[in-house]
Every structure is written in structure tokens, then in C-alpha cells.
């Protein structure tokens, strides 16, 4: 929002106040003045063109003699509209125009020129366009005083505050009167409202039309009529102020409606009364009802849109945009002014749906106050009378369904100091309230405060008053202290603690933590469809790659893999723990690991450990053992979407599937990448026994090695199961130390060698008893696993 401080000065005396430091003060008290802009144009004076001759060496240049009071100077001018007898803006040598061009005495095609006659766009006061260029230089009124400062004369010596407003102050600080009150609250000066005086003719609006409100969503509707307006250009001050506030001047009538909106914050709508007819009826639109709006577009309406109608057809979408059928144009004579308040939710809904958000619709959305609604229409009449030669009819047609209960709240001095942590006294509080312009009474340090309608953002609650009082008094006076509260230990929620445990373990195992996006594309969502449930989709995605709430983290880790690989990183070891979502709002936290390349590596010697299935299996087991699940998990062969059918498996914990592991299918990515993904929720749900010390046997153990030849598809676990069963309690460890396929073996066979450890914590075992068990093991494996002992 851009505020013209010249304009604000109409309502509050700012003499003796530096506008830069005022801006800082206003910012410190909570209304953020983001930028202070002033037109620093010097050496611009009003001149009178005495003579104007054609340049002998040019088909468009003129040689003018211009009186600037100090001298009669010769200036070469290229504008087509320059002529003798007009008053113009002259930039004298030394002037620096916007864009940094410095005006110097020069010679143009052999003719001396001591200055430049300017257009508004050259001065940065109008946008540069074909239209403005065609207008040529700016011609001042005949009574403009020669030799005077042109900037001042035009009222362009303005300072603009660019505001960055919080949503609460979007209501009152987006208009100049509202902002003047904010200036008053930091300066302690008083606000004076502008004149709304008119000289009404003896004619009544009621004779010309009737009003009917057929929806509760219209809360207030005022209508006044102005006859015989003359459409022309607005006076300079209106144009300049609109430009300063970022609006384009159009003609006096349109400009006045915008001017009043920027004064009071109340949007007005002007109908061409003759096109409108003699009736206004406000109602909800019907579904599929149509209107052509001012921008000449056909709009389809719904039953949630409020429309102004002429009794039958819509003539305006309330709060959003007028209809073409009642538009004010250059031939308009009689105007009907609407100043109304509609249900802000409807206006918001309609303007969003039609993508028609304007300065006006935003103001309706944020909320309007009935006092300004009444004042604005009077003010518009005043300006139409003054600047459009209009004749104002004597009365107003009004519909008013606004609750007008006064907003009052009480707050005590001690409340104020308790919440702010300050030691204000009653004088401080009174000063803040006085400056705010909030009427109040006080008894025993309890303040009963009335909140003016112009501050819709301030609720009738003491907390709101405390904030208003505090921000003006200054938060810089607060002295820090730590809260005086009961001491207690801080704790991590179970899920947070568990996640952190896992995270720290995975980091210690060499994996790097990733943080990736929750929203993924359909392509990513279609990968690794293990244990997939109903997906959640974003209703209006910003782009196709951020559309679906993911259920697996693996595709995201693959993206990280690609990113790093393409930047030359070879060994990529990643993990992520993140929440996934399904079935509307169900949550599951997943742990995903991705590994590729070497786990340990050195380029120049042979010390490397390449990632393979057994390595990632080691990571998984290490993690599960760390979480206390030793001996409770197993891997089950299973085909899983997008995983290598022969190098992947499902992970079971206490017989429950918790996730999957293995190599990614080469059809997804050729690189040899290993991953696992498990559910943290399923891990957390399981009970774990407390740690108990287990004594290591003092007696020597006996180790026996043996190798079996078995069918290729016999798994090591099948053999180990047999060995375990046959080995009994004295068999304390089983290790695989060799796997062999190839020469000397049938192609459908393989050899697996085991190292078996026997021990008893209470005694030394004898060779005989160990051999007995050992032989039993051999016999059982041969019998149950279709095995034979491999020849030594």
C-alpha cells in the first residue's frame, strides 16, 4: 500500500515533523513503513513560451524563447504541442531527471538550447507509453506563476510511504484517513476529517428509484443520486494523489470514486442512472445466471454470489465488479452512487472464484465500517458537485441491517503490566489511549475503553487493548527475564526419542541423513508399491512433481542418489526417516536406507569394501539388534515391485512383515543399488526385554569345521535350522566361512562350509561328547537337507 503524505497532511498537521523519522516511529509501533520515497526533483520551474519557431534544420524541432523569470532562455523542443503563449514545466541546466539524465546547456543541430520543456513521463510522474508520448509536453493552466517551483505548484513534492501491512492493519491503514489516525497515535496530534458539504437541489432520490434488499448478505446499502455531471479530466491534485497511490487517473467521475475509496477505505460503485432504470434489487444470484462485466467478459454466476439487479437482470456483482450494461461512460449525465457493505465471505469467495480481486474487492473482504460507509457517499457527492459540476439530490436511500453495539472493554493497570512485563503508570496508559483516540473512563486504575468503529481489528477484549497500549508505549522498555515456573525435567516424546535413537545409530553406521520432499509425482508414487494403501493427493497441486503425499521414501532417496552421482560422488550411503500418509489422514513413519558403491574405500590400494546385499543386511541387523530385536527377525524370499526378483526379500519381525530389502530392479535403474525400507511404527510397538549381563564362559570352547554339498536352491537358513536343532544347547555359535560353486561340483550343487563352536559355561567339554553331537549334526543335515559331506 502506498500512502501519499501530502494527502495525509489534509487530515493532520505535520508541520515540524521529519517524515523519515516519523516513518521509523510508525514502524516501531507496528505499522511497517517499508520504504520512504520522495520525488527529489530540483531545478524545475514554470516557464511561459514567448515565441515558437520551426528549427531550420529539422522537420519536427522547434526553437522557443521561454520566460523563466530569471531570464528569457532559448530552448529547442521536439514536442508537437509546443506553441507560443502556453505555460510549461522547464528543467533548467543542473536538473537531474529520473533515470539520472542531467540537463546541460547544449547545441542541438547548430542551435543553442538552455534547458528542456518536459512531459510528465519525462519527470517520472506518468508511465512511459505510446499514449503518454503522443500527449507531448505538459501544459500548465494559464494562471501558473512563471518562475515558481513547478514541482511544488503541481503538488508533486510528495513523500510516499510504502507500507508492508500485517493482515490486521490491512483494514484501517489502506486508506489515508485511517493512516492519519495511526500517525496521530504516534505523534499525539489530532485528526480532522475532510469536508462533505453539498448544496443539494430540491429533488428526492426516492422519486427516481426504489431499493429492495432480498438477501441477508447485504448488510448496508446507501444510494445517492447526482444529476447533470460533466465528464472531464480530474483536477491535478486528484490525479497526482491517485498516481502516488498507484492508481491510474481516468476521468473525474471514476477518479472521484477511487479517491474516496483511498480516503475512507469504502469502495463506491457508480451506475449510469439512465441505463439502470428506476429500481435496485440486491439478491443472491441464481446458478448459471450471467452478466457481462466492465472488462467485457461474460461471467457465469452461482447462488453464492451477491448481485445488484435492476429488478430482473444483474447490473453488478456486489463488491467485485460492475456490469457493462450500466457503466458510466463519456455521455453519462446522471449517476447513482452505491456505498454498501456486503458479507465479506461472499465477496471473498466470488472474487477468488472469478479471479477478479481488485483494490475494491479486497477492502470488502477485509471488512468495512458503517460510519465510513455513510461518510464516504457524502464525500463523493461533495467532490462530484465540486469537480464534475454535479447536482446532488437531497436525500439518501438507505438499507441498514448493521448491529451497532459499541465495542467496549475494560483493562486494569495491573493487567497491562502483568502481560507486558512492564511498569507503566496511569499517565503512560492515558497517553497511549489519548493518542489512539480511543475514548475511555477510568476508576481505581481500571480503564473502560470504547473502541472506535474504524478499528475493526481491535476486539472488545483486554488483551487487544493491552497490545494497543503496549505497542505505542514501546516494547524496547521491556526488561528480559526467564519465566518463573516450576522446575521439571524436559522430555522427548516417545516417537521423537525412538526416531533419534535410530537416526544416531544409522549415522554411526556411516549413513548420511537426508531430508526430501513429502510431495512426489505420480511416477514416483508408482514405484516400489509394497504394502500400498489409499493415497492422499493434493487438491490443487502447484506442479505435477508435487502432487501426491508419498508412501515410500525410496524414490526420494533415488533422486538424491542421482543428484550426487551426476556431481561425481561415487560412494553414496543415505538414509531418511520421515512420515508417510495414506487413507485420508493415517500416518506411518518409515526408515529408508540406500547404499551404493564402496562402504569403505581407498583408491590406490586394495582396501575397500563394496556394498552388496550382505552388507546392507549387516546394516539392517545391526540396527535391529541395537533396538533389542536380536533373534526375533528373519528374511523371507518374496517378489517385491521394482526390486530385483532374486536379490530381495521381505523383513519379518516376530513373524510380522515390517518392510523389504534388496537390490533395486535393473529396469528401474541399472546401477547396483541396495535399499531397505521398514516401518518405524511397527518397531516401536514391540516390547523389548531389559538388558541383562550374560557371563562369558571361563571354560575353553571347541571349534569344529565342516562343509556340506547341497542343492543350489537350498538356503543357508534351512541348513542352519537343522544344525541348531541337532546341536542343542552346547552348540553356541554357527558361522559360515566358505561358499563354493564350480569346478569339481555338479552345476546344480553348491558347497557351504560352517564353523561350529561348542561350549558350556560350567565345565570343559570332552572331545567325545562334542564328536557325538557333531556326528549327529552331520547325519541330520544329510538326511533333512539332501546334503552330503564335502571331501576334504
Amino acid at each position: 500500500m502506498a500512502i501519499s503524505m501530502n494527502w495525509v497532511k489534509d487530515y493532520i498537521d505535520l508541520s515540524g515533523i521529519d517524515l523519515k523519522s516519523l516513518a521509523n516511529k510508525i514502524t516501531d509501533s507496528g505499522v511497517n513503513v517499508e520504504r520512504v520515497v520522495s520525488h527529489e526533483l530540483n531545478n524545475l520551474v514554470i516557464g511561459e513560451v514567448k515565441t515558437c519557431e520551426e528549427h531550420p534544420d529539422s522537420d519536427h524541432l522547434h526553437i522557443c524563447i521561454v520566460d523563466t523569470k530569471d531570464e528569457e532562455r532559448q530552448i529547442v523542443c521536439g514536442a508537437s504541442n509546443v506553441r507560443a503563449g502556453i505555460k510549461v514545466i522547464v528543467s533548467l541546466p543542473g536538473a537531474i531527471l529520473p533515470g539520472g539524465v542531467e540537463i546541460k546547456p547544449s547545441v542541438i543541430r547548430g542551435v543553442e538550447s538552455k534547458g528542456m520543456i518536459c512531459s510528465l513521463s519525462e519527470l517520472g510522474l506518468e508511465e512511459e507509453s505510446a499514449e503518454t508520448r503522443a500527449k507531448g509536453i505538459y501544459i500548465l493552466p494559464d494562471d501558473a506563476p512563471v518562475g515558481c517551483d513547478a514541482v511544488k505548484y503541481l503538488g508533486l513534492d510528495d513523500t510516499i510511504y510504502e507500507l508492508d501491512l500485517n493482515p490486521n492493519r490491512n483494514i484501517d491503514c489502506t486508506n489515508h484517513i485511517g493512516f492519519a489516525y495511526e500517525v496521530a497515535s504516534v505523534t499525539g496530534r489530532k485528526v480532522k476529517l475532510p469536508s462533505s458539504k453539498t448544496h443539494p437541489i430540491e429533488d428526492s432520490v426516492q422519486k427516481h428509484f426504489s431499493l429492495e434488499i432480498n438477501t441477508p448478505n447485504c448488510l448496508m446499502y446507501n444510494a445517492k443520486m447526482v444529476k447533470d455531471v460533466v465528464i472531464k479530466e480530474s483536477p491535478d491534485f486528484i490525479k497526482n494523489r491517485l498516481i502516488a497511490s498507484g492508481m491510474r487517473p481516468i476521468n473525474n467521475v471514476v477518479d472521484i470514486s477511487n479517491y474516496v475509496m483511498l480516503e475512507y477505505g469504502q469502495p463506491l460503485h457508480f451506475f449510469d442512472k439512465d441505463k439502470l432504470g428506476d429500481k435496485i434489487s440486491v439478491r443472491m444470484a441464481e446458478d448459471n445466471e450471467e452478466i457481462i462485466t466492465l472488462d467485457k467478459k461474460r461471467r457465469m454466476l452461482t447462488k453464492d454470489d451477491i448481485v445488484i439487479t435492476d429488478g430482473s437482470k444483474p447490473v453488478c456483482i456486489a463488491g467485485v465488479m460492475g456490469g457493462e450494461n450500466t457503466e458510466v461512460d463519456s455521455t453519462t449525465k446522471n449517476i447513482l452512487i452505491e456505498s454498501a457493505i456486503f458479507n465479506s465471505y461472499n465477496v471473498r469467495y466470488t472474487s477468488l472464484r472469478l479471479d477478479l480481486r481488485s483494490e475494491a474487492s479486497l477492502r470488502y473482504e477485509r471488512g468495512l465500517n458503517y460510519e465510513y460507509c455513510n461518510m464516504a457517499i457524502e464525500r463523493a457527492c461533495h467532490l462530484l458537485e465540486k469537480y464534475a459540476d454535479g447536482k446532488v439530490l437531497s436525500d439518501t436511500v438507505t438499507y441498514d441491517n448493521i448491529k451497532k453495539t459499541k465495542k467496549t472493554a475494560t483493562v486494569s493497570l495491573s493487567d497491562i503490566n502483568t502481560v507486558l512485563g512492564l511498569t507503566m503508570n496511569s499517565l503512560d496508559v492515558k497517553k497511549s489511549l489519548d493518542n489512539l483516540g480511543f475514548p475511555y473512563s477510568v476508576k481505581d486504575d481500571i480503564y473502560t475503553v470504547e473502541i472506535p468503529n474504524r478499528r475493526l481489528d481491535v476486539e472488545a477484549h483486554k488483551q487487544d487493548l493491552i497490545e494497543e497500549i503496549g505497542r505505542l508505549y514501546g516494547y524496547d522498555k521491556i526488561i528480559s527475564r526467564l519465566p518463573i515456573v516450576e522446575s521439571k525435567k524436559g522430555e522427548y516424546a516417545d516417537s521423537v526419542r525412538y526416531r533419534k535413537l535410530i537416526s544416531k545409530r544409522l549415522r554411526s553406521l556411516g549413513l548420511n541423513e537426508c531430508r526430501t520432499y513429502t510431495l512426489v509425482s505420480s511416477e514416483e508414487d508408482n514405484l516400489f508399491k509394497y504394502d500400498r494403501k489409499d493415497k492422499i493427493e493434493v487438491l490443487k497441486p502447484l506442479s505435477s512433481d508435487k502432487k501426491i503425499v508419498r508412501q515410500t521414501l525410496i524414490p526420494s532417496l533415488l533422486k538424491v542418489y542421482d543428484y550426487n552421482k551426476s556431481r561425481g560422488v561415487k560412494d553414496i550411503l543415505l538414509y531418511e526417516i520421515a512420515n508417510t500418509y495414506y487413507d485420508m489422514d493415517k500416518e506411518e513413519t518409515k526408515i529408508a536406507v540406500l547404499m551404493k558403491g564402496n562402504y569403505i574405500s581407498s583408491n590406490w590400494n586394495e582396501s575397500k569394501l563394496k556394498v552388496d546385499f550382505y552388507l546392507i543386511k549387516g546394516i539392517l541387523e545391526n540396527l535391529l539388534n541395537y533396538l533389542g530385536f536380536n533373534n526375533r527377525y528373519q528374511l523371507k524370499e518374496k517378489e517385491i515391485d521394482d526390486m530385483h526378483p532374486y536379490v530381495s526379500c521381505e523383513i519379518l519381525l516376530d513373524q510380522e512383515a515390517i518392510g523389504y530389502m534388496g537390490r533395486i530392479h535393473p529396469k528401474v535403474i541399472k546401477d547396483e543399488i541396495y535399499v531397505f525400507e521398514i516401518s518405524m511404527n511397527k518397531l516401536m510397538n514391540k516390547k523389548v526385554r531389559p538388558i541383562k549381563f550374560k557371563e562369558i564362559s571361563k571354560y575353553p570352547s571347541i571349534v569344529k569345521d565342516l562343509a556340506f554339498v547341497v542343492d543350489d536352491d537350498t538356503t543357508s537358513r534351512e541348513i542352519v535350522d537343522t544344525i541348531k536343532k541337532a546341536g542343542g544347547k552346547l552348540l553356541t555359535n554357527i558361522d559360515v566361512f566358505d561358499l563354493y560353486k564350480g569346478e569339481n561340483l555338479d552345476s546344480s550343487k553348491k558347497s557351504i562350509a560352517y564353523s561350529l563352536t561348542f561350549s558350556d559355561p560350567t565345565r570343559t567339554l570332552t572331545e567325545e561328547e562334542v564328536m557325538e553331537i557333531f556326528n549327529k549334526i552331520i547325519n541330520e543335515v544329510i538326511k533333512k537337507n539332501n546334503a552330503s559331506l564335502r571331501d576334504k
Binding site: L482, V549, Y563, D585
Partner: protein
Amino acid sequence: MDIEEKVKLIRENLDKEIKSVQSTNDLSNLKVKYLGKKGCVTELTHDMANLSIEEKKEIGRISNELKSRVDAIFSECEEALKNKELEKKIASEKIDITLPSTKISVGSANILEKLIEEMEELFVSMGYDVVEGPEVEKDLYNFELLNLPKGHPARDAQDTFYTYESTLLLRSQTSPVQIRTMLKNKDKTPLRVICPGKTYRRDDDDATHSHQFTQIEGLLVDKNVSLADLKGTFDVVAKKFFGEERKTRFRPSFYPFTEPSVELDISCFNCEGKGCSICKGTGWITVGGAGIVNHNVLDNCGYDSTVWSGFAFGFGAERLAMLKYGISDIRTFYTNDLRIKDNFDRKDND
């Protein structure tokens, strides 16, 4: 030649020959020559059949003496040889210690997670609990109970991803965790919690915007809680993350769920308040928002606002990390470039 002379000769010969021994092989040959079955020392005791017992005894004594003397010389030589060979072997093992090391794989934390962990530790030490809540959230918790009814214009500032009608969404802030925490605490006792978490808004990703980002939010509910308490708490955070010499400032602001609301500013760590490009010439940097919990929010969650009061604060984790570490692109946190780990994975200067 009598025995004495023979012994002398053997010793002289041995002294000469032992000097030319170069290897264990030479040594064992020499051993055979002297002490073997036909060795010259062994032969001393041969052909003693014709000698008297006395003579036999004498020769036995002399030869034993010689034998042990020779043994000593041989073992001395053997020791020397072994040492020499070990030295040679050791010399051959010389390495170039400047060749690169074997890379030991140690994992690392994501930058944001590292910052969040530091923040959590700080607040746990002040008695705050670390809690979390769902990212797919009810509109009720994300907005309505936070004093942001449907259609409220302040919702515009948080353009939200809805996932089901207007009731379910990807949370646009971590504040719903405050609501959940207050509602869950049936006994309505004092609360101190911090809730870091992922949040989402409909922003196109660029260097300073991200549709997914991270908030660290805190809530304290007790009695007679003031802005001074909030400022003291903020001071602790500011000093911990941006240095002991940091000053703090409150600027009036607006959040629907706090009143009064403030912006949390720290004095610029780059220019010490003189004004620079980081603080845009103001000497201050905004790092978060906070305020006294709005009475409606307390009442909505079953805490009687005439009895209870509280403060809430929120930081953007990405913003804090960008300021603290001098990161200019917010996407840095989500690309997970492993090459940055080398300068990040270490203890900080604290």
C-alpha cells in the same frame, strides 16, 4: 700333532671362517664342518681306542670345552645374522606416509536436523518437552482453533495445500501441535513444549521459497506469563545460536493466535548493528515471531483464559540455518549434496 695343537688350529680356523659367514645357509654349512658327524670337533674324540683312561678323560674334557666354545661362537653369529635379516626386512617395509588414507565411512546429520537437535537440547535443558504432531492435519487444528475461522483474510498469507475438501490439509504451520498438546492435557496443568516439524505452503520453489519448510515452535502455558518472560527466553536462543554478544528486540506484529504479537529481531551479527546487506541496513535481523497466547486459543483448548496465560514463539529452521551458516539457497537443505558434509560434519564453535 698333539691335541692341544689340534684345538688351537681348529679355533684359529673357525675364527677366520666365521667372519665370512653371510647367511644362515653359510652358518649351517660351517656347523656341519665343525660339529657334524665328520666335523673336525667331533673327530677329536675319534680313534681313542688305544688311549689310557686318563688320556681319554683329558681329551674328552678338552673337546667338550672346545665344543661349548664353538657352540657359543655359532649362536653369537646366528643372533647377529637374525638381527641383520630383521633389519633388512623392516627396512623393506618402509612406507610413504603421505599417501591418502582409507576412507572410513561415518554418517552425518542433515543441516536442519543438526540445528533442530541443538534447539531441542537447549529447550529440554529449560524443562520443555519435545513433542510432535501429524503433517496431514485437520483444518480445525491448523486454523480454526488458532483463531483463524474459515474465510478469514489472514489465511491468505498461508496459501495451503488441501488434501480433502476443506477439512484436511498439509499443515501450513506447526501451531496445530500447540492445540493438540493443550487439548491432550486433560488436567490442564502448566505446559512447556517445543515442536519442530515439517510444514507446507503453496509456494513455488526458488532460492528463498520452498513449498516444504521447517518450523520450530514453542509454547509455555502457566500463570501471569509476560512479554518479559518471552524476551528472556528469546535472549537465550539468540545468544546460543548467534553469539553471546547478540542483542534482541521486539517489534509489534500480528498473528491471529497471539496478542500482543511481536517479531523477534536480533542485532546483526555481521555488522554488529552498523547496517549491512544482511540486515538491509537496519542493524537488525528478524529470526522469528512470537507473542502472548490469544485468549480465544486458550479457551478453545480448555484453558480458562482468565486463569491461564502463556507465550508462543516460532522460528523458521531454514531461515536460522541460512543466517547462522551463511547459506543463500533454501534448496540446499533438500538436495542433500554429500560433498558439503566434509565441512559440516564436525563440532561447532561453541
